[in-house]
């Protein structure tokens, strides 16, 4: 017998119908699980996203010179259809046309952009850069845990929700590594103990008994059983977004949709990590249309839906989009771009000073580039994250989260 969503639903229903002894206790045990601060959603674009084509510096002549095939046309370029042009933001920067769904949130002051942003690491290695970025450190020394993991630890034992920190994906994001257990899941619909066996309702009790005797695993086991019980009550498959939001049918769309569900259910979610693959566009990257435009379209639609869906909760939510580094300014011979340096971050939330592009713009003229011809980094990614952690998530100890890093506040987030 194959396991299906239908089987999940029926097994969840039967669990509810029989109300095993372990359910009521969990059903009414919620007070300690409310998040102490806001919720942070961290969307990581894996593969080094070409942010020069996402947040387009259309006021730079050099941008168009270096990218004869890949550049996104100027907002006033009458030679191409309007839908292919950059959506102007401030007369110098604009959004890739597929990110236009973000314009309402931008106008509401709920989207801030930080350009020429990134890590000081210049290895241009995905692994290296991602590792350092997720650990939140400058080099090989320093803690092996992740910056989010250390943030959670810095809060002491306040948040005890089993859903305090989750990572969408098959493996836990390194940023979440730390002493506070975080949970990796592909979909909250997969988080169940359903199965074909009719006796499954007794299994949680059996497991709770068996794990009670294992000092090292007992707490994790109990948290896991708690999550399973709570998600069964939530019935994630029947969730209807608010505000007319339509999430794209993609991994990102699904993860954002489920994050919104968890936020609305007030289950104590503090951090969610979402990975989006496919940004390593060495070949055939495309411009206003094509490979990367498809990825950006998914991103724009996903973020816009998330913003609309959480209109009532957005004041407590901050979402960041980041990538390990940016890409070379000059396009390569394969109509793609190679590994570069400076990138950009997108911050979306209800308590930010949005509608602005932050960061000092270093320029794209040859003498302004660094290394083999890359955008310089003028804002350390940690400056953005530190502000969010401190002012939106109540982090009491930034030094433990980003050791040896002195943040210069940009003023993107409002203090609580």
């Amino acid at each position: 017998m194959r396991f299906t969503r239908r089987a999940l639903l029926s097994s969840a229903a039967s669990v509810l119908a029989t109300l095993p002894t372990w359910m009521p206790r969990l059903a009414f045990a919620a007070p300690e699980t409310a998040p102490r601060g806001g919720t942070l959603v961290c969307v990581f674009l894996r593969g080094a996203a070409d942010m020069l084509n996402a947040i387009v510096p259309h006021g730079e002549a050099a941008y168009y010179r270096q990218r004869p095939f890949l550049a996104i046309p100027r907002p006033d370029d009458r030679q191409v259809a309007a839908r292919l042009r950059t959506a102007d933001l401030d007369g110098f920067f604009g959004l890739h046309p597929t990110l236009a769904p973000l314009l309402p949130a931008w106008a509401a002051g709920h989207v801030a952009l930080v350009h020429a942003c990134g890590t000081p690491d210049e290895s241009r290695s995905h692994f290296r850069a991602m590792e350092l970025m997720e650990r939140g450190v400058d080099g090989d020394t320093g803690p092996a845990s992740g910056w989010i993991g250390r943030h959670l630890a810095s809060l002491g034992d306040g948040g005890r929700s089993p859903l305090r920190a989750i990572g969408f994906g098959t493996a836990l994001q390194r940023a979440l590594y730390g002493p506070v257990p975080a949970t990796a899941l592909r979909s909250i619909a997969d988080f169940h103990l359903g199965g074909a066996l009719p006796t499954v309702p007794t299994l949680p009790t059996a497991l709770a008994g068996l794990y009670a005797g294992d000092e090292q695993l007992a707490a994790t086991a109990q948290s896991t059983l708690d999550i399973v019980a709570r998600l069964e009550r939530l019935d994630p498959l029947s969730y209807r977004p608010s505000g007319g939001a339509t999430y794209p049918e993609s991994e990102l769309g699904m993860a954002l949709r489920q994050t919104a569900l968890l936020i609305k259910a007030d289950l104590g979610l503090e951090v969610a990590c979402i990975d989006v693959d496919g940004w390593d566009t060495h070949i055939a990257q495309g411009g206003s249309e094509g490979l990367m435009a498809g990825l950006l379209s998914d991103l724009g639609a996903g973020l816009a839906a998330f913003h609309a869906d959480l209109a009532a909760q957005i004041g407590g939510v901050t979402l960041v989009v980041m990538s390990e580094f940016g890409r070379r300014v000059t396009e390569n011979g394969g109509f793609g771009t190679d590994h570069g340096h400076g990138g950009a971050m997108i911050v979306l939330g209800g308590a930010i000073a949005g509608g602005r592009v932050y960061g000092a713009w270093p320029g794209l003229e040859p003498e302004q580039l660094i290394g083999p011809g890359d955008l310089a980094v003028t804002t350390d990614y940690r400056a953005v994250l530190a502000e969010i952690l401190q002012h939106r998530l109540g982090c009491p100890d930034l030094e433990s989260v980003f050791p040896d890093f002195a943040a210069t506040p940009l003023g993107i987030v409002q203090t609580r």
Binding site: R128, M130, T170, A171, A182, L197, T199, L203, L217, V228
Partner: protein
């Protein structure tokens, strides 16, 4: 099969139950032997159980009896000489996979997804069915040490060759040969971007990992300048040509090699040595005093404890130095040590859990999408760890993710995994159990080497409802496979 099940269920008076027990998960291909549950098993003695629990994917009754008969030391020595162990039955199972040893000249016509599936399935089949169990564990170790993710563009074509020509070929050989094979492996060169490492634009990716992950370790005291010099030694080594997207064999393009003088770790390499630079680099790394310690500590961590006992690391490193990196000798030092016999349990990595469960139940597998997906959910998508450091090897990295383990236990006990055939009614019959409590105790000695303490098994039996129905038998099996006792090795 269904007749015997019916007869059996009738015999134990359990026909009223759902009757889902046993039954093959699929019709296995004709050349694949079916499931063969153990016919008899006794509680094992602690030292032998612990040895096989750590040095195989899962102790089986016949292997335990054999190890008991010849003694722990002789059993380890035999496993350290894998070619002396007849493994034809496993070879027969592997014969269905066309691409594991396919020549690189034709492999590029195969779809990458097919290559990935066969490579993963092959590893699963070996872990479950090979009689050279220790060898397979050591192969897994080196697959992590020289980790290559088949998810990277182009790598799926190249990793099968790396698997048999580098990892499997030298896993118990000499480290210098293993390292050289890896340094010239197309899969490694492409995976760590050495095809983009040119004189005019050096790419340090491979050089850095070569020093940090493959040979010296990050604390060995080398500098960024050493990494840069190593990268320059490696310039010009690539695979195939750019037009064919790195499909082909490794090649040295002199025009792309940085032939200037270099200094690595204080040793000068004169200009003009061309392809000889990389041989010199290989020699310098092998001669570095940090190497034996680094390799020894990783092996001890894998086979003994998360925090490697310093004495044992020192002993293994001394063997490494004295034998010029004879890996069999190094492993002998580790595996015959007093420390391993007294080591605390280690948390099973997902492959260990999955292969061991099928193995210990006497199941039969050809791999398959369900098992590959289960391993992915469990956190160990084979040959697809996203970073070059290989799957983690400490309890902390794995122990927070229990739910997928429980889900796997449920699906295996419920016979829901395609590609796995098991014969649970045969197992029940062989156990001699006619009540749930005895079944739980007999499974305990099969899966953990001893029955659970009486209060625990009693509580489990009463939680499940007590009756000896086929669903309760399966639920008990699921609970024991999901139990904390089964997560440690």
């Amino acid at each position: 099969m269904s007749l015997s099940r019916r007869e059996f269920l009738a015999a134990v008076g359990a026909l009223s139950a759902a009757g889902m027990l046993g039954g093959c998960g699929l019709a296995l291909p004709p050349l694949t032997p079916g499931p063969r549950p153990p016919t008899d098993w006794k509680p094992a003695t602690t030292p032998i159980w612990r040895t096989l629990s750590r040095l195989t994917y899962g102790p089986q009754p016949d292997e335990l009896a054999y190890a008991q008969a010849i003694g722990r030391t002789s059993w380890i020595e035999a496993q350290l000489a894998p070619t002396t162990i007849d493994d034809q039955a496993c070879a027969l199972r592997l014969a269905r996979f066309d691409t594991l040893t396919m020549d690189p000249s034709i492999i590029f016509d195969v779809r990458p997804s097919y290559l990935q599936a066969e490579l993963q399935d092959g590893a699963i089949v070996r872990a479950v069915h090979s009689r050279r169990q220790l060898f397979e564990l050591i192969v897994e170790f080196w697959s992590d040490h020289f980790s290559i993710a088949i998810t990277k563009e182009g790598v799926a074509y190249l990793k099968p060759t790396d698997d048999h020509e580098v990892i499997r070929r030298y896993a118990l050989g000499r480290f210098d040969e293993l390292l050289w094979a890896s340094m010239t492996s197309p899969a490694m060169l492409v995976y760590l971007d050495n095809q983009a490492n040119h004189a005019a634009s050096p790419n340090e990716n491979y050089a850095r990992e070569l020093l940090e992950l493959h040979t010296l370790g990050v604390t060995a005291g080398y500098t960024q300048a050493d990494v840069r010099a190593a990268a320059r030694c490696l310039t010009g080594w690539s695979v195939g040509d750019a037009q064919s997207l790195w499909r082909g064999r490794q090649q040295f393009v002199a025009a792309e090699h940085d032939d200037g003088p270099k200094t690595i770790l204080g040793i000068q390499i004169p200009a003009g040595r061309g392809a000889g630079d990389v041989e010199r680099l290989h020699g310098i790394l092998l001669a570095h005093p940090a190497l034996p310690q680094f390799i020894a500590a990783k092996l001890v961590r894998r086979f003994v404890a998360d925090d490697p006992p310093p004495h044992l690391v020192a002993a293994a490193a001394a063997t490494f130095s004295a034998t010029k990196g004879d890996l069999t000798a190094v492993l002998r030092t580790i595996l015959l040590s007093a420390e391993i016999a007294a080591a605390p349990p280690k948390f099973k990595r997902p492959l260990h859990l999955v292969a061991g469960a099928i193995r210990q139940l006497g199941g039969s597998t050809i791999g398959g999408a369900d098992l590959r997906a289960a391993l992915t959910t469990l956190g160990q998508p084979l040959f697809a760890w996203p970073t070059p450091d290989g799957f983690p090897d400490t309890t902390a990295a794995w122990s927070a993710n229990l739910l997928p383990r429980w889900q796997f236990a449920l699906r295996l006990a419920g016979n829901e995994l395609e590609g796995v055939a098991s014969d649970l009614e045969g197992l029940v019959q062989a156990s001699g159990a006619t009540d749930l409590r005895t079944w739980i105790d007999r499974l305990g000695s099969l899966l953990f080497g001893a029955a659970l303490p009486a209060p625990v098994s009693g509580a489990l039996a009463s939680t499940l409802g007590g009756a000896f129905t086929s669903t309760n038998m399966q639920a008990a099996l699921a609970a024991l496979l999901a139990a904390p006792h089964y997560q440690w090795r």
